[in-house]
Each structure stands twice: as C-alpha cells, then as structure tokens.
C-alpha cells in the first residue's frame, strides 16, 4: 500500500478524533455532556488496552499460549471489588478534589509534597518507556502496511520526520488541546474521554474483524484451526498449562494487572478523575471486563494461525496486521492499522495528560514554591504559567518517549516494558489500598514503602533490562555486580526458580509492604496527618467538610487569600469564592479551608498547603500560626465528627430503649387485664358455690328438692371452675411446649361429630341451629383426637355465644391442597378486618373493655391457634362486620407434605 494513502487515512482518522473531542467539549459546555453516561465511562476504561494488547497479546500468546490472559483477568477480578474499593476512591477524590494518583497518595499521607513528588517521579520513569512502546508500535505497523515489513524504524527518512515523531507531535497537540483546557485539574475532560471511548470501540471492532477473518475466512472455524495447530508438535506449547503457569508467571501477571488497573496514571485518570457519577461503576464493573473478554477472544486463534502461516520467520507481534495483508485483504489491514493507531493514541493522550498533571502539581510547583517563592508572589495571575507548565510537560514527556523509542529501538528494554511498567506502578498499591482502610498508615511508612519498593524494582527489573539491551555488561545479570553472586538481580540472595517478574514482585512487595507496615506501626503521626487519614478512611461517615468552625482569629486578610486564589485560579473564580466578604477582614479557619480546597483542585493538596503558607505576610511566625490554624481546623473537624458519631449512637440506643419500654408496658397492661378477667371468671362460680353451700349448711330443714337443685348448681359451677383452670394450664403448657400429644392418623369426621354432639346442648339452649356439612369420604389426617375436639368445641361454643337466637351456625369440612379445611360459619355480628389477627393473640380480647363485658378469658382462640399450629395447620378468620364470621383451620393430610412445611408461624 502506498505510504501516502496510509498517511492520509491516518491523518483523516486523527482529524475525526479531534472533531469528536471538540464536539463532546461543546456539548458538555451546553450542559449535555456525553461522558455522563455509564456506557461511555465503561468504554473509556478500555484505554487499558494499548498497542501492547492490540499487537502484543498475539505475540505473547505465540510464546505463552493462554499465558497472556492474566493481564486481562486481573482487571476483571479487581472490577468485582469496585463497590468496595473504587467507590471509596471516587468518593474521596471528589471530596478532596484530587487531581492525580500522586496527589491522592500525597493527600492521604498528611499532604506530603515529598511523597507526591516521589510518586510522580516513579510514574514518569516507569511509564515514559511505555509511551515509547506505543510510538514504536505505530511506526512498525505503518512500515509493515506500506511494505517495509521487518525494518524496525523508518531510519531511511530524515531523523525528525519519521512517522513516530509525527504521531508524537499530533498526540501532544491533542493532549494539549483537550487535556489542559482548564486550570482545575480535578475537573473533567469530556472531549478527551469521548475520544478515548470512541477509540475503544474502533480497536474492538478492528480486532473482532481481523479475528473473524482469520478464523472463518482463512480457516474453517476455530475447531479446524486448532486441529491444524494441534497436528504440529512445535505448537503444542500453545495449549499446555505448564507454558502458561511456569515459574509463577500466571499469578504474578494476575496480581500486577489488578494493581496496574488501579495505579496506572491513565487508569486512575479515566476511572477516578473523569468519573462523573459513582453509579456508573455498576455498569463499568461488568462492561469493562466484557470488553476485555471480547478483545481477547481471537488472540489465541490469530496467534495459532500466524504461527501456522509464517512460523518463526516473522515477529509474532505483527501477525494481526500480516495475516490480512498476506491474504490480500488490504482494506481489513488498514482497519487493523487504525485500530492499533486508536490503541496508541488513547494511551498516549490520557497517559501524558495524567503525567503532566503530576509533574506540574507534584514536582514543578512544589519546587518553584520552595526555590522561587518571591517570583511566584509577584505574579498577579499564575494560571497561564500553570497551563504552560502542563503543556510543556506533555511536550517533554512525549519527546522523551520519542527519544527513548529512537534510542532503544528494538532493544529488550523497550519490548518488555509493558509488564515492567506494571511492576513500577504496582509499588503504589500497598500505600494506596492500605491507606483507604487503615488510619494508622503514616507518611513515613508510605514514603519508605514506595521508595524501597521502587528501588528494588529498578534493581531487579529495570537494570537487568538495560543489561539485556546491551547498555550494561551482561555479567551484571549472570555474575552479579562486582561478581557478588548474592546480588544477582534475577536471583537476589540466591532466590532462584522463579521467572524474573515473579522474583521482582516478591522482593519489591516484601520491601514495600514490610517498610510501609513496619514504620507505620511504630510511628506517631501528628494531629493534622491523623485528621487527613481519617478523612480518607471514614469518607462515607463524614458530613460536608466545608462547615469548619469559624472564629475571629486570623493571620491572613480575606484580600490576601483572594489575591492568592486569583494568582492560581484566575480572578473570576477568586472573586466568586469570596463574593461579598470584606477584603480587610481576617480570614478565619473556614475561609482558609475553602481556599485550600480550591487550590488543591488546581495544584494538588500538598502544593496548596505550601502556597497558602507562602501567602502569609507575617514571615515565619505568621506562617507557623497559619499552618497551626489549618491543622487545628482539621483537628476540630475530626473531633466534631467523633462527637457526632457518639451522639448518633446515643440516640439509637435511646430509641431502642424507648421501644423496649413501650413493649414491656403493653405486655404488662395485657397481663393485668388478663389477671383481672381470670379473677373475675373464677370469682363468679366461687361466689355462687359459696352462697349455696352456706345456705345448705345453715338451714338443716331445707327441702329435699331444693337441696338437690342447689347441689346440682354447685357441681356445675365447680365443673366450670375446673374447665377454666384447665384452660389456663393448657395455655401455659402450649407456651412452654410441655403439652402431651398423641398424634396419630385419624378420621376428622368422627372428631367433628363428637364436638358437634358435645355442644348440641349449648346450641339448643341459645336457640341457634347447628348444621353439619361433612362429606362422607374425608381423607385421614395427622392429629391428636382430643385436641382436635377441643379446638372444634371451642370454635362452636364461641359461635353459639355470638350468634343471636334464631341464627344459624354451619360446621363444614373439605379436603384440598394437601390438607383438610374445617370451618365454623356463624350469622353473628362479625369482626372488623383490623381485628382478624388480634383475636388469636393470647390475653387479647377484641372489644372495648369500657363498654363491652369481656365474654371469656381471652385464651380459647389462642389455645386453638397453638394446637392447630403444632399439628402443622393454619388458622384464620374471614369476616366483615354485620355479615357473620367464618373461623377456619387446616390439618395436613396423612400422606401430604410433612407438617413442618405447611405450618406458617408468623
């Protein structure tokens, strides 16, 4: 293909990206941002897949089989923890106005400029070669497409006019245009994110297209392709487990990738800084892994097809492009090239914007504040300077990347940089994750951990990669520096048998985590640092941090603060911040914190603190006083927060106590009512027994008929007493679970007839008709005969009592649904629906105690309920006032489900 047409298409595509970014920025300015969508957010996370994925995965798969996959399984696993981990990071970043991962760590550990600088420096050193790798991939794929397959760089052209430089320049322009628009780095960059999301789509479509072409176009589906590969003994390694997991490489890459998706500056940028809504995580936590799955679906087939076709004659990294080219599918090859270009462009732009923010806020500004405070103070408006620093940083970072690419070329140091970069940024993980959950982690611990881990990383991975590239003697790896065997970088202290990455991860993690944990355990953080740690760890319990206490003291005037803000943020924002305040008034802690927060959004938390201090007119004394006030404010906030928690706890305890007390009072009242009812019921028969006995005792001449009648009443009343007492005892037994049961198979009809016969007299006496509707062939049930009779008798006598003379009561039974349903229907006054549950409560008499005379002990139905539920049935009532009542219960059939399944204890 002619290189002019490829160049033209590339430029047109990049032009389209600029247009998309511009359009997205315009829409965001109009209040309809495209990045306020969970799907766009999830797609933008796809910036994780660089050319290292697009071209390099196939290369890795050609050597390691499925061993390339942990790089994508790690992020999948980490995203499952999003509700635990990422949500918290998002919330913190929002409340603290975080601008980058360096700023995040610095802010967590007492706003330490040193830690911020260290993280920024590590990130730049670890990631710049990674940018070089992207430039190389674009250059190589460009050459391959235009027919220079195999030549590594376009060295035949002028030094600074090769396509690597062109790409770097265009990307720098893009990053500057869409990544450094506003001075507030904590704000979003809708144009950049929209373009990245679009690029994610393009590279996915391109890879799926080439994958489908290779699998179904060049071979007859995956089965045929893998069969062909399996027939070749030299390709067996592609399918073997040992190739993938040898030396611990599998688990190591998994851990590194999970850490990288959290700590890579570009991932932190798109995941945390560019997030517009925490709820977008719900979509991203599955859509991003799905994206990773799809883009890797055809990697192994393409690798196998490439090896079948080209064998060892071609760099496997180029298979994706070479397969369609060799088959004459030029259009597809061009699409693949654009996919690779997208992968490179997205990575370069986001990474350089993220790095430039760090370089500006955590390296340059702190240095300027320390070295040239006077010069900064003279300037009225520093925002052009800040933007210039960031733009310059982007240009310098991309230039460094380009130079590295030119110098390292095909050296090992560049080829292997992907995982080496992952290992570098993984050094932030212990301090980052630990700092989210443990308030005790201190600044010194984090500094030592990150520094120690990074040094070990450099010694065990970076320097050996230089040695393998020929920039250091190879003996450095084989014999150790100065021939000291214990210091061999791939076998430190004689630790052998692991692959270099696992070896490096082990030692760096040991040093990093050990120093971080050890120093933190034996360190005492000052109040300000502790307050800041609490602000991170307890971010979800915290109320708005802006309501700091106000007091009359102050060392800075509002006018001074306003000028300081104007210097960094521009005059408009400063004027908005202190609108309506008297410039000569002293700024109390509240205004100081507001200023600090606003500054943090522009230049990072650590620099904001230093900039504030430098603004104090009173020299060293004034500065100390101002810092003390800021710290006190943090401290006071922490205190008031602690108080707030205590108050809330106290309130909750009080509420619980009040509820328990109310319940006890109710129970107590019920008990009293019950006792008075029972006493009353006991006293009536006792009184009549006693009166009649006294008459019989005092009057010996009483007539025989009279005496017999009296004795009959005494007997009847005694029986009533016995019944009452039995009932109380029954209830007590049921409550205590001490009732004796004789559960057996029985015919319900017999028990029902017996109960009807037992209450026949009562019905006759009341003038109520009792109808029975009992089918002849009722199935047997599991029940206790006596208890069943007791329940039915109780329901029938209730019905007799509440049905006016001339009414009708129906006793019915019908089988159905694994049980027999027995009902007693009356034509009495009925029960209001709100009492349907209450009638079965023990001690509970539905009825107004002031007007209605209680008609019983309040135990009858409670006993029925206890019995029925023990037998595995249910009991209830259907009724409306004025329309009679139907009390019903069920008994499980003998062959139905076991009673336990049917019972429904409320």
């Amino acid at each position: 293909m002619a290189w002019t047409s490829v160049l033209f298409v590339s430029l047109a595509y990049l032009g389209a990206l600029f247009a998309i970014a511009h359009w997205a920025d315009r829409r965001a300015a109009a209040g309809r941002s495209v990045i306020a969508s969970p799907t766009v957010y999830a797609l933008s996370l796809g910036v994780y897949c660089t050319t290292w994925t697009f071209y390099g995965s196939v290369g890795r798969a050609a050597g390691l089989g499925v061993g390339f996959l942990p790089i994508y399984l790690g992020p999948t696993l980490l995203m499952l923890l999003a509700p635990l981990l990422l949500r918290k990071m998002l919330r913190i970043a929002k409340t603290q106005r975080i601008t980058s991962i360096a700023d995040f760590l610095a802010s967590r550990y007492g706003r330490s400029p040193l830690l911020g600088g260290l993280v920024a420096l590590t990130a730049v050193v670890g990631v710049t070669p990674y940018i070089a790798l992207q430039l190389k991939a674009v250059a190589v794929s460009f050459d391959a497409l235009t027919g220079n397959m195999g030549s590594v760089t376009g060295t035949d052209r002028l030094l600074f006019l090769d396509n690597g430089f062109l790409i770097a320049a265009i990307m720098a322009l893009f990053a500057i245009l869409f990544g450094t628009r506003q001075i507030d780095a904590a704000e979003h960059h809708p144009g950049m994110v929209a373009a990245v999301a679009f690029e994610s789509l393009v590279k996915l479509v391109a890879f799926l297209a080439v994958g489908g072409f290779v699998v179904w176009g060049l071979h007859d589906g995956p089965g045929a392709l893998f069969d062909a590969a399996r027939a070749r003994p030299d390709l067996h390694r592609l399918f073997a487990v040992d190739t993938a997991v040898e030396g611990g490489a599998w688990t190591t890459s998994l851990i590194l990738a999970a850490a990288a998706v959290l700590c890579l500056p570009r991932q932190f940028q798109v995941t945390v800084i560019e997030n517009t809504d925490e709820r977008h995580l719900n979509r991203a936590l599955w859509l991003f892994p799905l994206y990773l799955l799809l883009i890797n679906l055809f990697v192994l087939p393409v690798a196998a097809a490439g090896l079948l076709r080209f064998g060892a004659s071609l760099d496997p990294d180029l298979f994706v492009l070479a397969l369609p080219l060799a088959s004459g599918a030029d259009g597809l090859a061009l699409l693949v090239f654009l996919g690779g270009l997208s992968a490179a462009a997205g990575m370069i732009v986001v990474e350089s914007v993220a790095l430039s923010t760090m370089v500006c806020n955590d390296l340059v500004i702190p240095l300027l504040l320390r070295l040239r405070p006077a010069a900064l103070e003279r300037a009225a408006d520093l925002s052009p300077l800040l933007l210039a620093i960031r733009r310059g940083a982007i240009a310098v970072i991309l230039l460094l990347g380009y130079l590295y690419f030119r110098l390292a070329g095909s050296a090992y140091a560049l080829v292997s940089i992907g995982l080496i970069s992952f290992a570098a940024v993984a050094q932030f993980a212990p301090a980052l994750i630990g700092g989210l959950y443990w308030t005790g982690a201190t600044r010194r611990g984090a500094l030592a951990g990150v520094a120690g881990g990074t040094l070990v990383w450099a010694y065990t991975l970076l320097l050996p990669s230089f040695a393998r590239s020929g920039w250091l003697p190879v003996s450095f790896i084989e014999a150790g520096p100065w021939g000291v065997a214990a210091l061999r970088p791939y076998a430190l202290f004689g630790l052998e048998g692991f692959d270099p990455l696992t070896h490096a991860l082990f030692w760096s993690a040991l040093v990093n985590f050990g120093l971080w944990l050890g120093l933190s355990l034996f360190d005492h953080a000052d109040a300000a640092e502790r307050a800041q740690a609490a602000a991170f760890v307890e971010v979800f319990e915290r109320t708005d941090a802006a309501d700091a206490p106000t007091d009359g003291r102050g060392v800075v005037r509002v006018g001074d603060l306003s000028r300081l803000l104007a210097r960094y943020l521009g005059p408009q924002r400063a004027a908005r911040a202190f609108a309506g305040d008297d410039p000569d008034a002293l700024a109390g802690p509240k205004r100081l914190r507001l200023a600090e927060r606003l500054l943090a959004g522009a230049i990072g938390g650590a620099s904001a603190r230093v900039a504030l201090a430098s603004a104090t007119p009173g020299g060293a004394v004034g500065t100390a006083e101002l810092l003390r006030m800021l710290d006190e404010t943090s401290h006071a906030l922490a205190h008031s927060r602690a108080l707030e928690i205590k108050t809330a706890e106290l309130e909750r305890a009080t509420d619980a106590l009040r509820a328990a007390n109310e319940r006890l009072t109710t129970l107590d009242r019920l008990k009293d009512e019950f006792l008075s009812t029972v006493t009353h019921e006991l006293r009536t028969p006792l009184t009549s027994i006693r009166a009649l006995s006294e008459i019989l005792h005092d009057d010996p001449g009483i007539e025989e008929d009279q005496r017999r009648a009296f004795l009959a009443i005494i007997i009847a009343e005694s029986e009533r007493l016995t019944r009452l007492i039995n009932e109380v005892l029954d209830m007590a037994k049921i409550e205590a679970g001490a009732m004796d049961w004789a559960i057996e198979s029985l015919d319900p009809a017999r028990a029902l007839e017996q109960a009807a016969a037992a209450t026949a007299g009562l019905f006759q006496e009341r003038g109520v008709r009792l109808d029975s509707a009992l089918p002849a062939d009722l199935p047997p049930v599991r029940a206790d005969h006596d208890r069943l009779v007791q329940v039915v008798v109780n329901l029938l006598s209730n019905a007799a009592k509440f049905t006016p003379p001339g009414g009708r009561v129906t006793l019915a039974a019908e089988p159905g649904n694994g049980a027999v349903r027995i009902s007693v229907t009356d034509t009495g006054p009925g029960i209001a629906p709100e009492h349907h549950d209450a009638v079965f409560d023990r001690f509970r008499q539905v009825g107004d105690p002031m007007t209605d005379k209680p008609a019983g002990t309040g135990l009858g139905l409670a006993i029925c309920k206890g019995i029925v539920e023990h037998l595995g049935g249910r009991i209830g009532v259907d009724s409306r006032p004025g329309a009679g009542a139907c009390f019903w219960f069920t008994l499980p059939l003998l062959h139905g489900p076991s009673p336990g399944d049917l019972s429904s204890h409320r």
Binding site: L254, E834, G856, A862
Partner: protein, 89 residues
C-alpha cells in the same frame, strides 16, 4: 371457654419494632458482599491448581480445554456480575 370476637377494640399492632436504622450510606451491602463472594470464586477458578485440571489434550467445543475453561468461566463471571450490579434496589 371463650376468646370472643367483638366488633371494635384495641388495635393489634406492636410488631413494627423489628426495623432498626441501618448505619447510613454503607452502600447496598448484600450486593457488595455477593460481588466479593464472586471475586473469591473467580480468583479460585482463574488460578493454577484448578487450571491444571484443564491441561489435557483434546478439545472442548473445538477449543483447547484450558482456553474453553477460561473463556467459559470468564463469561459466566461477567454475566453474574452484570446481574448483581444492574439489578435495581
């Protein structure tokens, strides 16, 4: 021997004390816990001891067994995560 229904009287409430104020804004905890459970399960399925079960020759659905296992588990994990994450409430 009674327990009588009568048309009007006390209300039968007193069962609403079971609900206690949960700590505010701790997130939808059951969903979070289920996702963490899914994480642990995936961690197990994606790592060597179990991977070695799929090291043999032969083919599952035309794919090498190891590849088929990973793709299947991966897709299942994503589907489960999507179900958990996108469910309302």
């Amino acid at each position: 021997m009674t327990g009588g229904p009568a048309p009007q009287g006390h209300k039968a409430d007193g069962r609403e004390d079971g609900r206690d104020a949960v700590g505010r804004d701790a997130g939808p905890t059951p969903r979070r816990d289920r996702l963490i459970g899914l994480f642990l399960l995936a961690l197990l399925l994606f790592n060597p001891p179990l991977l070695r079960l799929f090291g043999g020759d032969g083919a599952m659905f035309g794919l090498p067994p190891l590849c088929a296992h990973i793709l299947f588990v991966w897709a299942a994990v994503i589907a489960a995560a999507a179900l958990l994450a996108e469910r309302r409430g």
